[in-house]
Symmetry: C2
Subunit: 371 residues, 2 copies
DNA sequence: ACAGCCGTAGCAAGCGCTTTCTATGGAGGG
DNA sequence: CCCTCCATAGAAAGCGCTTGCTACGGCTGT
């Protein structure tokens, strides 16, 4: 029924071992023999049996890319970039060798699915795993992740974090490329402050994500440095976003998912709570778009009545009206680099971790507050 | 080093066969035995060896999803939806059974990569493959695809097209969910015509894609029905977009990739060629965004000076200013359905092919032409 | 009480490939 | 001219799992 290595061997009048060696291209094979084998492969339309191969060789050509939400271009761009360094012949290299199967796994932000995918990849003896985007800060989940990754790592799977802080004790196992979310957040808010804003609303992402926390910390650091109140903020914020008691959460911060709707509703809420805000910083560009819509629906103009800023600089941000002031993250470059590291084409950063700079993009959606 | 089935069997004091049967949940195993085995699995932290399993069973739990450009939400949304029906425990079902690994493969729109990915999936003996998005109409490539898919199909891989017309002779092998691009395109242009537009520019996608052709055909059909000139259009358009001779391509149509930049530049070109156009239809929403930017940069207002329309109704379209008139495609639903069919949870549509309706969304970016 | 069954468990034969070790033949050196 | 060595090819032993078939009690039915 299906063509096997043995069939090819028979047709080429060599042993299966030789065919295998031709296909894998390690081990010397006489040119004439190789040619004969290749012809047989072609004639028979032979396709290697991946599972059999992986079983015998104890390795596979699968590379997993974990993302929180593939419908979000933030992840789409990174994952696509990573894949360009890994998959198929598109990497411009010759035919043989790097024929890996780069696969994107959509966790939907769920810790369980994240773990499940890791198990599935472990089952497949994946060659590498790239984890993108913010992590969930639940200690139990982090412990489970660390354990899983440790097992993967010592089964020979290369681990790369991309746009994600390394796990507390994973330094040794994994290379990490993390975005300077804190710095970017700080500079963004500094920009607003320098424009003259004093009352700045913040539409944050989900509480338990590292990305959310880091961006928020940057924002608050800027506020604090400028001597501005972050309100009701218990002195020692510590390392958790969790508010100490009731109402400890600053009035000007609203949390929600990283989507448009959240931006819309949170902005309405913010405007209700504090009609005197003159600027709104959103957790990311998508949220910012929602915020803009809310502002407009309330009959206010951007930036004359209210400034709005985003984060990420996704492609559509420049097309918003007015164009969105935001913080540019080199998503494509980071993804590609992660891919290269996963493939062993590039060395991990010194110390295993590299921080990727975030660049402030000042555009039309921010301006000095009205008189 | 690594824990194997045999280790688990030894610990549970049963044969490997029994362990396998417990894990696969077919075949009767006494409750007490099962429990013992499960405990051993847990104690040993056993993870099935995927390749070995696939080899022995001659099937794998991989499901491939091919997309043209994962950075584009159009594909991200579909792929994510498909994955919800396939991957991990997220589908709400119990623990056992549907533990498939849904993987997204980014072809970048390249025919070679598409084929390569298919080969890679064939290597892995994928359980199913979902092909999304428009196809390339090159006959050689189509033939290669048909051949490849035929081989996949009779190796037991289920094939599903999603938002993609079936290949000429693949009807038997595959289920197809195709969008009514032609109808959507037609209704969109009819809307513009009913508003009073007569000179309508069209920013089309890449020439060789089915999606491009179908949307364009819908547009032209509407024009023709209204007795409007599509210009220089050779009578028998036949089945190819390819223009007969030089300049046979209508003046009001410009082709380009499905990206923002193309929309921007094509619009500028269109405005240069025909300053009297009163509306521009873009190949999709992303292109439309670029078109809007160009229009604005030329100092014109939307929709007062020029109407602009898109296609797809991606999430950001409603947030454009003014909100984009477009054609809504139920991307998520279609993707999810494709996933279900791929999993065998749902039957393929009768006749193997279903056309999915496209709904016209009239919003602020279109209005009657001036004067 | 015995034949026949049903419900469970084990045996063992692969699945298709990789890889170590061994075999072979001709070239080069003593 | 014989022996050694390199280059190349083959034999065969698995890799870890699935599954058809067999084995074995204890029941039921007559």
């Amino acid at each position: 029924m299906t063509v096997t290595l043995a069939d090819v061997a028979a047709r080429a009048r060599v042993s299966p071992a030789t065919v295998s060696r031709v296909l894998n291209g390690n081990y010397p094979v006489a040119a004439s023999t190789r040619e004969r084998v290749l012809r047989a492969v072609d004639d028979l339309d032979y396709v290697l049996n991946g599972p059999a191969s992986s079983l015998a060789a104890a390795t596979s050509d699968l590379v997993g890319i974990l993302v929180n939400d593939i419908a979000d271009p933030f992840f789409g761009i990174m994952a696509g970039a990573t894949q360009t360094q890994i998959g198929g012949p598109g990497d411009g290299s010759g035919r043989a060798g790097g024929e890996k199967l780069a696969v994107i796994c959509n966790t939907g932000g769920s810790p369980e699915r994240e773990l499940t995918y890791l198990t599935l990849l472990q089952r497949q003896r994946a060659a590498a795993v790239v984890l993108t985007g913010g992590a969930v800060e639940d200690p139990a989940h982090q412990a489970a992740m660390s354990a899983k990754l440790a097992r993967l790592a010592d089964a020979g799977t290369r681990i790369v974090f991309c746009g994600r802080p390394p796990l507390p004790d994973s330094d040794a196992l994994a290379a990490a490329l993390t975005f300077d979310n804190r710095g970017g957040g700080r500079r963004l808010t500094e920009h607003l402050i320098s424009l003259g804003h004093r009352r700045i609303g913040y539409v944050a992402g989900p509480r338990e994500r590292t990305t959310t926390r880091h961006r928020l910390e940057g924002h608050r650091e800027a506020m604090r440095r400028a001597g501005l109140d972050v309100e009701a903020e218990g002195g020692g914020e510590g390392d958790g976003v969790r508010a100490g008691g009731d109402g400890a959460e600053p009035q000007l911060t609203v949390h929600g998912p990283y989507d448009r709707r959240s931006g819309y509703e949170a902005t309405l809420e913010l405007l209700r709570r504090a009609p005197d805000v003159t600027a709104i910083v959103a957790a990311n560009d998508t949220v910012a778009l929602g915020a803009c819509a809310a502002v407009r629906d309330r009959g206010m103009r951007i930036p004359q009545d209210l400034s709005v800023a985003g984060f990420d600089d996704l492609p559509f941000s420049v097309d918003a009206v007015p164009a969105l002031t935001t913080v540019r993250l080199p998503l494509f470059e980071a993804g590609a680099r992660a891919g290269r590291i996963a493939m062993g084409k590039e060395n991990p950063p010194p110390g295993g971790i590299a921080t990727i700079a975030a660049e402030l993009m000042i555009r039309g959606s921010t301006a000095p507050p009205r008189g």
